[in-house]
Symmetry: C2
DNA sequence: CCGTAATGCAATATATATATTGCGTTTTCA
DNA sequence: TGAAAACGCAATATATATATTGCATTACGG
């Protein structure tokens, strides 16, 4: 499940570690979400958005595949 | 954690049961999400959005409380 | 170059999202 | 007004998101 976490994180000038610490999760969690191997929780998605100053649609929206 | 699932579901003319079935979860899951007692998964949020024809921001965005 | 920061990844443990079942209450509508 | 649909909710079981630790690899500034 692809998303734009990596792009927006880098644009915000943060490392995985820094983003993880600001949010209060581990670096691995961020890493796996960026890799599309995790299905994150809404709460975590929102925390990421707040930290990189984007919205859910910016970072996590995926068009429905028919 | 509040959201607009209930409003958008009703606008879409669906019962909890119908929404749950279309998505492939149980009615209880929908009920608890509407009540703000569950922290749903991104995948589930997207499935809800697709079904009610809204985006993540429409249904699940919450302004950051300072 | 070289060392250090940043990242990828694997294994196991823990927390929690979701399923399942069942029953009581409220709403809706003929 | 009464029966059926829709909903709230509780208890337990299961699946899976996240934590923890540790090590290997890659990118990058001095």
């Amino acid at each position: 499940m692809m998303n734009h976490v990596k792009i927006t994180r880098v644009e915000a000038g943060l490392t995985q570690q820094q983003l993880a610490e600001k949010i209060g999760v581990t670096r691995q969690t961020i890493s796996l979400i960026e890799k599309g191997k995790y299905n994150p929780t809404l709460k975590l998605c929102l925390a990421i958005c707040y930290t990189v100053n984007k919205t859910l649609d910016d970072v996590f929206w995926i068009e429905k595949e028919e």
